[in-house]
C-alpha cells in the first residue's frame, strides 16, 4: 500500500471496453490511474474501475490473463471497486440472459438482465436523481443491464423509472449507465472521496 506521500493509484481494468474514458474522468478529479491487464498491474493498484464493454469478452480475458483469481481475492479483502455496465454484470451475484458458461465475481447481491433495456436502437439518455448529489445526473444507457432484484445488503443510490441504476454494497459501487461518457465527473469524484483515495 502507498506511503502517505504517494497518491493511491486507481486501476482501470483495460482488457476491453471504455477504459480510456474512465481514465480521463478519474484524472479530471485528480486521481492517479493505471491500466490493469495482468496480475502484476493489479498488485500495483489500491482500487479498481471495471468499465463498460462486452462482459463475455472481458470474462474470457479475465481467465486468459490470469486476473480472475487475484481479482476475486482483492474483492474479498474489500478493495474499492466501481463497476459500470459490463463491470456491473461481472460483479453481480445473478446474471439473467447471459451465456450458460458466464460466471463473474458474485460480489454484489443483485440480479441483472443483460441488455435488459433492449438493443442499441433502444439505448437512451435520461436525468436521474442520485443520493448525495444536489442536482440531477445526466446518465447514458447503452445496451444496458437491468437490475431486477437488489438484496438487503445493497444500498440503492439512484433509480430510473423505479429500477435501481446505481447501487453500493460495502466498498463496491455499480452503475448500469456510463458516467465516463459525459463530462460530469461527480460520480468518479464520489468514488474517490468516499473510499478515501485522495491522500
Amino acid at each position: 500500500m502507498g506511503s502517505p506521500q504517494v497518491r493511491p493509484v486507481i486501476g482501470v481494468l483495460a482488457l476491453q471496453g471504455a477504459f480510456a474514458a474512465h481514465e480521463r474522468a478519474l484524472a479530471s478529479v485528480g486521481a492517479a490511474t493505471r491500466q490493469v491487464r495482468t496480475p502484476g498491474d493489479l498488485a500495483a493498484v489500491e482500487a479498481l474501475v471495471m468499465p463498460g464493454g462486452e462482459s463475455t469478452t472481458m470474462a474470457r480475458l479475465l481467465h486468459t490473463s490470469g486476473l480472475f483469481t487475484p481479482l476475486a481475492a482483492r474483492l474479498a479483502e474489500g478493495m474499492p471497486v466501481f463497476g459500470t455496465c459490463a463491470g456491473m454484470i461481472l460483479l453481480a451475484t445473478e446474471v439473467l440472459d447471459g451465456r450458460a458458461d458466464q460466471h463473474g465475481f458474485a460480489a454484489v447481491d443483485i440480479a441483472v438482465r443483460r441488455n435488459g433495456y433492449g438493443r442499441q436502437i433502444d439505448s437512451f439518455e435520461a436525468d436521474i436523481e442520485v443520493v448525495g448529489l444536489e442536482t440531477p445526473f445526466h446518465a447514458v444507457f447503452i445496451r444496458a443491464p437491468k437490475v431486477e432484484r437488489a438484496g438487503s445488503a445493497v444500498t440503492v443510490l439512484a433509480e430510473h423509472e423505479g429500477v435501481p441504476v446505481l447501487a453500493r454494497q460495502g466498498a463496491i459501487t455499480v452503475a448500469s449507465f456510463h458516467p465516463e461518457l459525459t463530462p460530469d465527473p461527480r460520480l468518479h469524484g464520489l468514488f474517490v472521496t468516499d473510499n478515501d483515495l485522495t491522500k
Binding site: 483495460a14 482488457l15 476491453q16 471496453g17 471504455a18 477504459f19 480510456a20 474514458a21 491487464r37 495482468t38 463498460g52 464493454g53 462486452e54 463475455t56 469478452t57 474470457r60 480475458l61 486468459t64 490473463s65 455496465c85 459490463a86 440472459d97 447471459g98 451465456r99 443483460r114 441488455n115 438493443r119 442499441q120 436502437i121 433502444d122 439505448s123 437512451f124 439518455e125 435520461a126 447514458v140 444507457f141 447503452i142 445496451r143 430510473h160 423509472e161 456510463h178 461518457l181 459525459t182
Partner: protein, 297 residues
C-alpha cells in the same frame, strides 16, 4: 434521428458514439452463419458482422454484392448476446432502413459491397441505428463524420489477408491528425481545403488532438501480430473479416487475435498466443487486385 419520451431520449449522438466506445480494445469478427457467430462469441469477439460471404469470397465470386438476407441476420442475432452489425451498400439508404428495422446494433456502409450510388453516401443523421464507415484518409473520415458516421474504420483492402493497405490508411489518418494539432489558425483553413472536409471538424481536431469518433482498423488482418500492429499504430479496435474463417483452424486463431488486441504492447504475450495456430488465410498481393478501397467518395 432522436426521439424523446417523458423519461428517456434515444438515437442521440452520445448513445450512438457510446456503443463504439464500448467496442474499443476488442475484435469484431465477420461471420456468415449462426455457428460461426457462436465460435466468434466463444473466442471473445466484442461484436460480429453478419454477412452472406466474407470479402475473400466476394472477391473470388465477383458480381454484385448486396445486403444479406434478413433471415440470415436474424438467425445470427438469435444465436449470440453480443452486438450484431450488418453491411449496407454505399448510398443504399433503403438497405440501411431495413437493417434498422431488423434491430441490428450497427450498420456498416461498406465498400466491400457493390456501391448503389456513385456520388452520395447515406444521410446517416436520419437514422436511430449508428453507422460505421471506411476511410482511406482523414478527409474521407471527416466527410463520413459530417454525414453522421459514429465510428470510422480504415478501409484497408478487405479479403486479401494483406495488412499493407490498412497500415497505409491508418498512417495517413493519424499522421494528418498529428500535423493538424501543430497547425496555426490560418493553416487550418488550408487543411480544410486540402482534405475537402468541413472547417469546424478540422478545428475541433486541432483542439482535441483526435477524431470526433473512435477509429478502428479493418481490411487485411490475418494474424495476432497484424492486430497488435494496427493497435500500436493507433487503432482503437480491429475488425477481422476473412482472416478468421478463411484460416485453417478458426477458433484458436480467433482467440489468439482477441488476446493480441488486448495485450498489444506485450511482446511476450504476443509471442505466446502466436504459436501453433496453423496456416493463416492465403494472402494475395496488391498488384493485380481490384481495390475495394477506391469505392466511396
Amino acid at each position: 434521428m432522436t426521439s424523446e419520451s417523458k423519461s428517456r431520449i434515444t438515437g442521440t449522438v452520445q448513445v450512438k458514439r457510446g456503443l463504439a466506445e464500448m467496442l474499443k480494445g476488442g475484435v469484431i469478427m465477420d461471420v456468415v452463419t449462426s455457428d460461426q457467430a457462436k465460435i466468434a462469441e466463444d473466442a471473445g469477439a466484442c461484436a460480429v458482422m453478419a454477412l452472406e460471404r466474407v470479402p475473400a469470397d466476394i472477391r473470388r465470386d465477383g458480381g454484385v454484392s448486396r445486403m444479406s438476407d434478413p433471415e440470415m441476420i436474424e438467425g445470427i442475432k438469435a444465436a449470440v448476446t453480443i452486438p450484431v452489425m450488418a453491411k449496407a451498400r454505399i448510398g443504399h439508404f433503403v438497405e440501411a432502413q431495413i437493417l434498422q428495422a431488423l434491430g441490428v446494433d450497427y450498420v456498416d456502409e461498406s465498400e466491400v459491397l457493390t456501391p448503389a450510388d456513385e456520388t452520395h453516401h447515406i444521410d446517416k443523421w436520419a437514422f436511430t441505428v449508428p453507422f460505421v464507415c471506411g476511410a482511406t484518409n482523414l478527409g474521407e473520415a471527416l466527410r463520413r463524420i459530417s454525414e453522421g458516421a459514429c465510428l470510422i474504420r480504415s478501409k484497408g483492402e478487405a479479403g486479401t489477408g494483406n495488412i499493407v493497405e490498412a497500415v497505409r490508411h491508418l498512417r495517413s489518418i493519424i499522421g494528418d491528425i498529428r500535423k493538424i494539432t501543430q497547425a496555426d489558425n490560418a493553416e487550418l483553413f488550408q487543411w480544410a481545403k486540402t482534405l475537402q472536409a468541413p472547417l469546424p471538424l478540422v478545428q475541433e481536431i486541432a483542439e482535441t488532438g483526435w477524431l470526433q469518433v473512435p477509429l478502428f482498423c479493418a481490411g487485411g488482418i490475418a494474424t495476432p501480430a497484424d492486430a497488435a500492429l494496427a493497435m500500436q499504430l493507433g487503432a482503437e479496435a480491429v475488425f477481422v473479416g476473412s482472416g478468421i474463417f478463411k484460416s485453417d483452424d478458426p477458433s484458436p486463431r480467433a482467440k489468439a487475435i482477441v488476446e493480441a488486441t488486448t495485450h498489444f504492447r506485450d511482446a511476450d504475450i504476443l509471442a505466446k498466443v502466436s504459436r501453433g495456430l496453423g496456416a493463416p488465410m492465403t494472402g494475395i498481393g496488391m498488384d493485380d487486385t481490384v481495390k475495394f478501397a477506391e469505392r466511396g467518395w
